[in-house]
């Protein structure tokens, strides 16, 4: 036999630690939400806010201040200068608003400003991205829709697959769709829509006793909130690739949760214990080895991406790094306690129904 990190007879009382886990999660979520409120919402990158981003590579080390000074007279509205990527890349990222100025003017002004202001330093404009305000707003709406559909479809899949209650799952889909359409008709903002959608989903799961779906969805909302919160705390921007990362985190977090849930269901059918809490605890311990190994290998490669992947992919890798870590934690400490809290689960119900019939 090969190595073992988790000994076969390990019995950690995860369910017993749910109080502490709850505090940890609550603190992380509140910190993130606090930061979001303080900043007046997420900090949007140009994909969502519109504007112009220019990435410039210099042939030797330059100071952010020197670049700023060189571009002082370049007539670039709302210019922001920041260093980019690794230090030895000598790269600078410039941001400016696009409403008053065209992208070709920006390119010309930057070239002229750097040529006269930083004599003797060679540079190359490597990337220029301009997103108009209209496109930005559209991309924002689309991104939110994507997150919403992901949650919805996954909720339906879990309810149907795990509890064999496709009918209840269909009712939930219908209810959610009706609720969102109503909010849209009332002309609510997208922020209200997301929270509305989440509220309706969680409410319907609870009302229809779709407890597996409830646990999984609360866990993934938890993961998204914490990842978004940490991003806000770190002052990182949200753009299209971060949304891609968030959707991946949703998929990954559920992947983890489902493995644990699958084992719980198997153990409930096998009746290894009379207590639901103990069954859950045993199931988590049985799958713990797998959970840690898979998260470990995934974190390993994402860390490699974070360290070596280059500036453009850096924040994307960071989001994955946070999300994979939090997703692993939540499948153990969030999803399972919720399943316990809202038990007896559907399997118990099924059995009662079977006995009654």
């Amino acid at each position: 036999m090969g190595l073992q990190i988790i000994k076969p007879d390990t019995k950690i009382d995860f369910i017993g630690a749910k109080g502490k886990a709850f505090i940890v999660s609550a603190v992380l979520i509140l910190l993130g939400l606090g930061s979001l409120i303080m900043n007046g919402g997420p900090k949007y990158g140009i994909d969502f806010a519109g504007g112009i981003v220019v990435q410039v590579k210099f042939d030797k080390k330059v100071d952010v201040k020197a670049v700023k000074g060189a571009l002082e007279d370049a007539k670039l509205p709302g210019l922001v200068v920041q260093s980019f990527g690794h230090d030895d890349d000598n790269e600078i990222l410039l941001r400016t608003s696009s409403s008053e100025i065209s992208s070709s003017e920006v390119r010309d002004n930057i070239s002229a400003g750097l040529e006269s202001g930083l004599k003797g330093t060679g540079f190359e404009i490597q990337r220029l991205e301009m997103v108009g305000p209209k496109v930005g707003a559209d991309l924002r709406t689309k991104a939110i829709e994507a997150l919403y559909f992901a949650v919805l479809l996954i909720a339906i899949y879990i309810s149907g697959r795990f509890e064999q209650r496709w009918f209840a799952a269909a009712i939930m889909a219908g209810g959610l769709f009706a609720g969102i359409s109503a909010l849209q008709l009332l002309g609510m903002s997208t922020t209200v829509l997301i929270f509305g959608a989440l509220f309706i989903t969680v409410g319907l799961c609870w009302y229809l006793k779709l407890n597996y779906a409830l646990g999984a969805i609360v866990a993934l909302i938890h993961d998204i909130l914490i990842t978004v919160g940490i991003f806000s705390l770190l002052g990182k921007e949200f753009d299209l690739t971060i949304i891609a990362a968030l959707l991946t985190i949703i998929g990954y977090s559920l992947n983890d949760t489902i493995i644990v849930f699958d084992r719980i269901r198997e153990n409930l059918l096998g009746k290894i214990s009379d207590s639901l809490a103990e069954t859950i605890n045993i199931s988590i311990n049985q799958t713990l080895s797998r959970t840690i190994l898979t998260s470990g290998t995934t974190l390993l490669v994402v860390a490699a991406l974070f360290a070596l992947g280059g500036g453009v992919i850096h924040d994307f890798a960071l989001a994955l790094l946070i999300g994979v870590g939090v997703g692993t934690y939540s499948s153990i400490f969030v999803a399972s306690p919720i399943l316990l809290g809202f038990g007896p689960s559907a399997i118990g119900d099924d059995r009662e129904e079977a006995e009654a019939a």
Partner: protein, 533 residues
């Protein structure tokens, strides 16, 4: 070896051969060797973020297009009415997609309304107002179906024109497609001069020939005082030092001829090596041009492109044969680009750049290099870890992990998918997640071994119990990826494609192929031999 195992091995070998055959053409070393001729032609196409190039989202000004269309309909109405002896003054386009036309004699009201009903089914009469002087003011609006039709027509025409222009510009593999609403997406890989590309794509290229009002008072005109039917614009002169000056010029508003009759445009050089553009008209255009020039000898005719006068030569004689030239003061590049836009035709409405992303080739190469080094570092760490943790089983997992990466890359090539920077990240992420299925199976086998099962029985039990779990877990990730594909553009789509492909191939390799390797391994050994897992 039993029969089903043999078939499984054959299937796997076929997949491996397919994978390698589709992967090889993407490797630079293979592309230049003799092998290239026997391999498939499909290569992994790189996204703009890796290859460098320009991505543009253009918005067609639909309001303007609609106004142009309505103006044309109004002119038609006036002309058709005149043929019937009904006098209608030149119709005006109003705000809100309406046309106003004035009928001179109230007595002809019925005749006009019948004519509109019979010949202009696309127009509905919104209101009529009879004036005291006997004139009748009509307001028309296009029907909703016609508006829809015009919108589609405008978009198709705009896309066709842009495609023509880009084709003539000589960009390899341009990608032009309609987006939702009035948007067009243009991708020009490898194109390094965004300014010039944008100028060529964005020019409406509405060419008109108009008579110059030589008697007009330029000073008054500059103050905005012009006679009816006249308009002020500018004519550009290039000075010897290369700079330009613009002078005002007064034109008669009605165009004598427009660019729609042009069949060809070429750049030529005169005896002073100054570039100019020659135009060829089709037979109808040639007839009009001959008539117009014949009627206006010794007068100045302005050549107007997108509202700007390029030159205003004096007509020396009647010009037959359907040829004309635009001399003017521009550089060779400008003349060349002017010929391109004239040849490709005019856009039905102005376009605006809504989104522009330009990536230089050096950044693209750097992204590829960094992505590859991250992928190699991550993979090596995972390979070593699996080998150390699971022994022989870890080796099996490593073999299929390598196969998995080969299959993802081959799949990208075979399906014509585009590899983007986030796509590379997707592959790297898949490498981390790919071992998941194997970990689930191996842990299960370990559990079964601990319960006292023999190696063979534990393998059978482990696979059968783990398979459904793996399917469940991966389907949610596929759902997320499919949604990503639906909503995402460019690079994000690339990520979704590689992620989905990665999940599918990893399920095949981790569930199907590893089992074959295990069965082969155990089939040669004693039934009670321990399993290194």
């Amino acid at each position: 070896m039993n029969g089903s195992l043999r078939w499984k091995i054959i299937l796997t070998l076929l997949v491996v051969v397919f994978g390698v055959a589709y992967l090889l053409p993407s490797l630079p070393a293979v592309q230049n060797s003799g092998m290239a001729s026997i391999l498939p032609d499909d290569k992994i196409s790189l996204g703009l973020d890796l290859k460098g190039g320009i991505h543009l989202t253009l918005g067609v000004d639909m309001d303007k297009a609609m106004d142009n269309n309505l103006a044309r309909m109004g002119d038609d109405l006036k002309a058709v009415a005149r043929e019937e002896g009904v006098i209608v003054l030149k119709p005006k386009v109003l705000k809100g997609e309406r046309i106003e036309a004035v009928l001179l004699k109230e007595a002809q009201k019925e005749k006009l309304e019948k004519l509109v009903k019979d010949s202009f089914g696309n127009l509905t009469i919104l209101s009529t107002a009879v004036k005291p002087d006997g004139k009748v003011t009509y307001v028309f609006a296009p029907t909703p179906e016609y508006k829809k039709y015009l919108t589609k027509l405008t978009m198709d025409q705009a896309i066709k024109t842009i495609r023509n222009r880009i084709d003539q510009f000589g960009v390899a593999e341009p990608d032009i497609r309609k987006q939702q609403g009035n948007r067009i997406q243009v991708q020009l890989p490898g194109m390094q001069d965004p300014e010039r590309a944008i100028k060529i794509i964005g020019k409406t290229a509405h060419l008109e020939f108009k008579l110059v009002d030589e008697g007009a008072d330029l000073e008054k005109a500059q103050k905005g005082i012009v006679a009816p039917g006249r308009e002020v614009t500018v004519i550009r002169h290039r000075l010897p030092d290369g700079s330009y000056v613009e002078k005002p010029i007064v034109l008669k508003k009605d165009a004598m001829l427009t660019g729609e009759y042009i069949t060809d445009a070429q750049t030529r050089f005169d005896q002073f090596n100054q570039p100019y553009v020659t135009l060829n008209f089709n037979s109808r255009g040639a007839r009009i041009f001959e008539r117009v020039t014949g009627e206006n000898i010794k007068r100045q005719m302005a050549i107007v492109l997108d509202g700007k006068v390029y030159s205003a030569p004096t007509i020396q004689d009647k010009i037959a044969g359907g040829r004309a030239s635009i001399t003017g003061s521009y550089t060779t590049d400008e003349a060349h680009d002017l010929a391109i836009v004239l040849r490709a035709g005019s856009l039905p409405a102005p376009v605006k750049i809504l989104e522009q992303r330009t990536v230089g080739p050096s950044l693209g190469q750097e992204s590829i290099d960094k992505g590859i080094s991250a992928a190699i570092a991550g993979s090596v760490l995972v390979l070593i870890f699996m080998l150390a943790y699971y022994g022989f089983a870890g080796f099996v997992a490593d073999v299929v992990l390598v196969l998995n990466v080969v299959l993802i890359l081959a799949g990208l090539a075979a399906f014509g998918a585009t590899l983007t920077l986030p796509g590379i990240a997707g592959i790297i992420l898949t490498i981390g997640m790919a071992v998941d299925a194997n970990v689930i199976i191996f842990e299960r086998i370990r559990e079964e071994l601990r319960r006292g099962l023999t190696a063979k029985a534990a393998i059978v039990e482990g696979y059968s119990r783990a398979t459904l779990t793996i399917l469940d877990a991966n389907i949610t990730t596929v759902i997320a990826a499919v949604i990503l594909y639906q909503f995402g553009t460019g690079p994000v789509r690339g990520f979704a494609v590689t992620l989905t492909l990665g999940i599918l191939t990893s399920m095949f390799t981790a569930i199907f192929v590893t089992r074959i390797l295990f069965e082969l391994y155990t089939s040669k050994r004693a039934a009670d031999a321990p399993l290194n897992i």
